[in-house]
């Protein structure tokens, strides 16, 4: 026999009328939650105003954010094509180019020819001149006119090999070609011709495509090719920025003898090649070249990372060792002395409430920058936190075990050892592990104020705004360490606590 459980509308309304408080809820409660939401919304609006968030977000330089983000995982090669007033060209790489001192990349094609040029001053004289303007202007005869110091300088004629045509191929669809004061830029099938005239400046032929910008007629034109790179075209100089994915010179820097060699070549040199440095084997040379890589500073980064790990480990370990005896004094069911309980507890509160930042700043002044400062800061703060948690754990223990041990006439120490400790030790160890793990994270931050570890190195790399790839490297290392510690501590804790959910 089936019972019809469906209700008709009238029955439902009758139930609603009998139990209005179940259907509608109490109006007080609803008003309260509405008030809380309104309060939070008002607070957010107030903060928006207090920090003028909208204005800051609008004024932010979002264009540069993209470049910085791209720098995390790619690098730029920046050759300059310089054009002297007599039309002779030169392709110059900056001093610390990732391609090394004498680079001949395939993507820059150069045609040369011999010309006779007038050079106004010998090299020694050029350096003695005040270096107010860029190096380029020293090659310009005009800049020397009218200077008394130039009286002795005789223009010299000499035959030189100069670049007559330079072609930069960014990728298959993007290239820049420079010859005879004429720049031909091609991007995605569109071609832009730019005339570089020393008298009238930079003049594009025809309308600018949307990847080219020029602020005022005659001024430089910026060509943006997205992730492939960009270029600045000016009368005397074309700055090329060609972006490549990956990290440049991650293993060997440009000063290393192993630079720019394939893996096979390096392996061959290490295992069978002749000694590059007579004093030591190629293997140790390669290893020290890796460790002291000038751009990536592997040894320094690893040392600083180890410092961070050590700071967290020693700080937490000492904190738990010191908090362990103190928590017995703070727990009111163990030490039946109200004054002593309160004093110890307030001491814990004091250590905890003086921020880790304050401890870090003080100990940095005491020990000098380094892991000792960070270690002490973590130790002081966590003695307070762990002491508080430990004494709370002690106050929640089951008294039956203690009574049992006491009843057979055990000494007070044996009561603690056999009646209390077995209950709380897993909790204590689990808390200490949890703080070890979370301190590994916070040690990074206090490092930035000088308390040792990788924090300061990260901060310095970010300050320059040009080493974002190093930041990425360090962040990856930190993430790996944190994840490893996370899982180790989780594993240990779940074994300690048994199947209990914590």
């Amino acid at each position: 026999m089936t019972v019809n459980t469906m209700m008709n509308a009238a029955e439902m309304e009758a139930i609603a009328a009998r139990h209005p408080h179940l259907i509608h809820g109490s109006s007080r409660k609803r008003i309260r939650s509405a008030l809380i939401f309104a309060g939070i919304a008002l607070y957010m609006i107030y903060s928006w105003w207090f920090f003028s968030i909208g204005q800051v977000l609008v004024n932010a330089n979002w264009g540069i954010a993209g470049t910085y983000l791209a720098d995390w995982v790619s690098y730029e090669v920046r050759p300059d094509i310089k054009i002297a007033p007599d039309g002779a060209m030169q392709v110059v790489y900056p001093r610390f180019s990732p391609l090394g001192p004498d680079a001949k990349p395939e993507w820059v094609k150069i045609e040369t020819r011999m010309v006779e040029r007038a050079i106004d001053a010998p090299a020694a004289k050029q350096q003695a001149l005040p270096t107010k303007s860029s190096t380029f202007s020293f090659m310009a005869p005009k800049s020397a006119v009218g200077r008394s110091a130039e009286a002795e300088v005789k223009p010299e004629r000499r035959t030189e090999e100069v670049v007559s045509r330079a072609t930069v191929n960014y990728n298959r669809t993007t290239s820049i070609d420079v010859a005879d004061r004429m720049v031909t830029a091609t991007h995605n099938g569109e071609t832009l011709l730019i005339d570089l005239d020393p008298a009238s400046g930079v003049r594009p032929e025809g309308a600018l495509p949307d990847w080219a910008t020029q602020k005022r007629p005659g001024e430089k034109i910026t060509l943006a090719f997205g992730m492939t790179g960009w270029a600045d075209v000016d009368v005397g100089k074309i700055s090329i920025h060609n972006r490549f994915p990956g990290w440049a010179n991650f293993i060997f820097d440009t000063s290393s003898p192993f630079f720019n060699k394939s893996f096979g070549e390096v392996a061959g040199l290490i295992f069978a090649g002749e000694r590059l440095d007579p004093a030591r084997s190629n293997l140790s040379l390669a290893w020290s070249n890796i460790l002291y890589n000038a751009e990536w500073q592997h040894l320094d980064v690893w040392t600083k990372l180890l410092q961070t790990i050590v700071m967290a480990f020693v700080g937490t370990l000492f904190a738990s060792i010191v908090a362990f005896p103190l928590c017995f004094l703070a727990a009111r069911n163990i030490t039946r002395n109200g004054v002593l309980n309160q004093v110890t507890k307030r001491f814990f509160d004091f250590l905890r409430s003086v921020d880790m930042l304050i401890w870090a700043l003080f100990f940095t002044r005491a020990f000098g920058p380094g892991p000792l400062a960070g270690m002490s800061a973590i130790f002081f703060t966590d003695t307070g936190t762990l002491g508080k948690l430990y004494s709370e754990a002690l106050e929640n223990i089951d008294d039956k075990q203690r009574e049992g041990v006491k009843s057979v006439g055990a000494t007070p120490l044996a009561v603690q050892r056999f009646g209390v400790l077995p209950q709380v030790l897993p909790v204590f160890a689990s808390q200490a592990l949890y703080f070890w793990e979370s301190n590994t994270r916070s040690a990074t931050i206090i490092g930035a104020v000088g308390a040792g570890g990788i924090g300061l190195k990260l901060w310095e790399a970010m300050r320059t705004n040009s080493d974002w790839e190093n930041v990425c490297y360090m962040v990856i290392l930190i993430l790996v360490v944190v994840f490893i510690f996370d899982s180790v501590s989780n594993l240990l804790r779940s074994r300690l606590m048994g199947q209990k959910t914590h």
């Binding site: 939070i40 607070y43 957010m44 903060s47 207090f50 920090f51 800051v56 977000l57 932010a60 979002w62 540069i64 954010a65 910085y68 040392t303 180890l306 410092q307 050590v310 480990f313 020693v314 409430s353 880790m356 930042l357 304050i358 700043l361 003080f362 100990f363 002044r365 005491a366 000098g368 920058p369 380094g370 000792l372 270690m375 948690l389 057979v408 056999f418 077995p422 030790l425 160890a429 808390q431 949890y434 979370s438 994270r441 916070s442 990074t444 931050i445 930035a448 104020v449 040792g452 924090g455 990260l458 901060w459 970010m462 962040v475 930190i478 993430l479 994840f483 240990l492 300690l496 959910t501």
Partner: protein, 335 residues
Amino acid sequence: MGMMPLKPPRFAGDAMATSALSPTLSDNGALVERHWQELNLRRRTYTFIGLALLAMALSGCLWFANETNAGKFFDRLPYVFDFVGDLVPRDGAEIVRAMFDLPSPYDDGSLKYNYPEGRIYLAGAIYVPEYFYKMLETLNIAIFSTIFGLFFGFLLCFLAARNLMPNPWVRGLVRRFMEILRAFPEVVIAGFFLAVLSLGPIPAMIAVSIHTIGALGKLFFEVVENADMRPDEGLRAAGGNWIERVWFGIVPQVLPNFMSYALLRLEINVRSSSIIGAVGGGGIGEPLRLSIGQGHEAKTLAIIILLFSTIIAVDHFSAWLRRRLVGDQAFRLAQ
């Protein structure tokens, strides 16, 4: 590492078997006794090995830390409490003057006594003392990022909970995402946005918010996984869709715990926003770092007192509110 000593020891048998009971044992009893002794010996050996390893690691770490530190531990030990000297102002009233930006009688034009210069005028002669303003800024950074993190952690946690999101790909993706948010160093986020947004508190807010989303999201989805699923079953039987099931079945039971975790997070965020402030993120951290570095005792002490009392006030407020929300239920501190 130290696994064995933590097992509950089977002491009672030992202590009493040897003292209270006579040593005359049957053959079986002797066998059991011998096995137990062997086990005990093995456990002790493991404990000893574990402790020895720990001691070795510790001494290695200490040596390494000392080697790579700028000052050596024993050379610097006599100077450790020098900072107490940094905290003794010329006279007690200086602290009050530094805190409330009142003019100092010792003012010699140096940065040390220029308290009134920090005043932030609201209208006419009414001003907010500099350090109160900075403290308020730090506090606001913490509250704003907690609310922000609460909101997004709330949205994400239901997608990461096993009982509400049966699809393991979505769940895993959301969990990994939250793990990365949590583990990503705050300093890097703050530094990146400092480069983009220029100086001010907003980089710190973004950094702390992002970390909070990850941290709260993790705690939240653990709460959701422990929730009672009967209301959810009821709603499912009545034909509720996923959002209705979450909103009417799960949210009412987990909300008090969520709020309690968010309040705990607020306590942590006040601390971390003061640290981020010290590296350029706005708020009280920067004046503190500067005044300790320059040895301005009165200013340092004024800031420390402000920071200390703010942290205690926030801790107590949050403890009181948590007790009202979830009763005396104990919570672990989560960072």
